[in-house]
Symmetry: C2
Subunit: 292 residues, 2 copies
């Protein structure tokens, strides 16, 4: 398959152009674009669109809207996660974090406006959707990935509790949006999303473990943000729980179990390759030997 | 009309029960309920539902979902507005604000999760909507009322700019959600929302002026939150711009112009009474003579 079909950048740009307009308060408009562009690897929206295409979606526009929504929600979560009251991170993607550059107030509002923009993008597509009857389920899936009780907000909130189950915390904080990506992709193709939960959950778990590993062993220049945050904030982490080798080993197990669980579909090979390619970036190069 | 038809409390409770569950991190679950119950006057959701009923809506469930979404978004905006980086308000509705009681992190997450819950409520209704084709427009209207460039987020963001046009600031910060309430009510009844913009905008403007008046002349016990914030934070305010009598006079003009603009519909008299009853609470009693 032509990999450009998975590219979501134009859809994300089109969506943002509706919000960061000349009528928008200038600082908020700047911060909205700053939080979304240039993006990271856009792993989640590509995964969402790939699952839809692998299932021969008859409403690719819906898959693109869902993919865009998932990415905007991811960006929103990063902006709020970096706030002084959470990670107090002054760097993100190799540049000052949104609150470091625009102040805390604009950072809170940027996250809020991106959450709204995500759902507005889905609603805007629905106005002329080929398959409008699929939109409610797709929207519900995306919302579950970010809200309470099981989405990103819940994941962050587990950081505020005295007792935390590590798996549950990771599932909510990172897994839920990957689950939303695979399941929204399936639902936008009119396919039962249930069997796609495990693939998303497994990639999400692997990704979170990779994040813990990077926090433990990377340098700030490579990572583009501060390192050592988990220990500094006494936060649960796979590396702190399992050690470095244990964490790398669990990461690999996660990915394999996710790929094994993938439902049979027309584009199974394409999806298999995409997930492998995406996850090859999960582990820092200098750990290649440990991971091999 | 039976005024209990306008009651949205059960719908709001049902919606919140989906999020503040036993699986939710306990502090977040408590804070979500704390932010929404007991509510204020529920002016916006009642207005939304009243406009739908006045237009003989054939999908009252959609109007109730829209009304609930509008109220949850209002609650979210209060939680974030009270944060230390904005108003730094420790009291709200006569009790400690969410961040004062649960901490800043839970307050940020509560606002985020309420925004998500608002759109999830609309999507959940859409799954079995009588008129699914109306949901995208209703959702878009609600989203416009809170996001960028013209909704609440934009309104708050104008507070961060050096130069602010007072009317534009009020329109976004307060008017936009009232416009969303009237227009979403109309759209959920299948009626063109355009002619309903002015009613919402006028009530919103009146409400914001009333807020400025209360901030200038109330005592904290009556208001249930700190007073004198506008002067303290050097914020634009109708009282600072027009003086007390000028502000009261503009408030009354706003309401009259809004009521004059109301499109003709089956329930026009009921709506007229509702808006009059709601707005009678706008002006503090001790200003009755000034306002008469």
């Amino acid at each position: 398959m032509d990999s450009s079909l998975l590219d979501c950048e134009q859809h994300i740009e089109d969506a943002m152009a509706e919000h960061a307009t000349a009528q928008c308060p200038p600082l908020l408009a700047q911060a909205l674009n700053y939080a979304v562009f240039p993006g990271g690897a856009r792993v989640r929206p590509q995964l969402c669109k790939a699952v839809a295409l692998a299932n021969n979606s008859s409403d690719v526009g819906l898959a693109s809207a869902a993919a865009t929504a998932v990415e905007l929600l991811h960006c929103a979560s990063l902006v709020h996660d970096d706030l002084p009251c959470f990670d107090d991170a002054t760097q993100r993607r190799g540049k000052p974090s949104v609150h470091a550059k625009f102040g805390e107030r604009i950072a809170v509002l940027t996250g809020d406006a991106l959450i709204v923009a995500a759902f507005q993008t889905l609603a805007a597509h629905a106005v002329h959707a080929v398959r409008i009857e699929r939109v409610p389920l797709v929207t519900t899936i995306v919302a579950r990935g970010v809200g309470a009780p099981h989405g990103i907000c819940a994941g962050q909130a587990w950081e505020c509790e005295q007792r935390v189950d590590l798996a549950r915390y990771h599932r909510a904080k990172t897994g839920a949006l990957f689950v939303a990506a695979t399941c929204a992709g399936a639902a936008s193709a009119g396919v039962d999303p249930g069997p796609w939960v495990n693939l998303g959950a497994s990639i999400g778990e692997a990704y979170q473990i990779a994040d813990d590993i990077k926090d433990a062993v990377s340098d700030p220049e490579t990572l583009g943000k501060p390192v050592g945050i988990d220990v500094k904030l006494d936060r649960p982490s796979a590396v702190r729980e399992l050690g470095l080798e244990g964490a790398v080993s669990r990461l690999k197990d996660c990915l394999e179990s996710g790929l094994d669980s993938m439902p049979s579909c027309a584009g199974q090979n394409m999806l298999y390759k995409l997930v492998r390619a995406q996850s090859s970036r999960f582990i820092p190069e200098k750990l290649g030997q440990v991971a091999a």
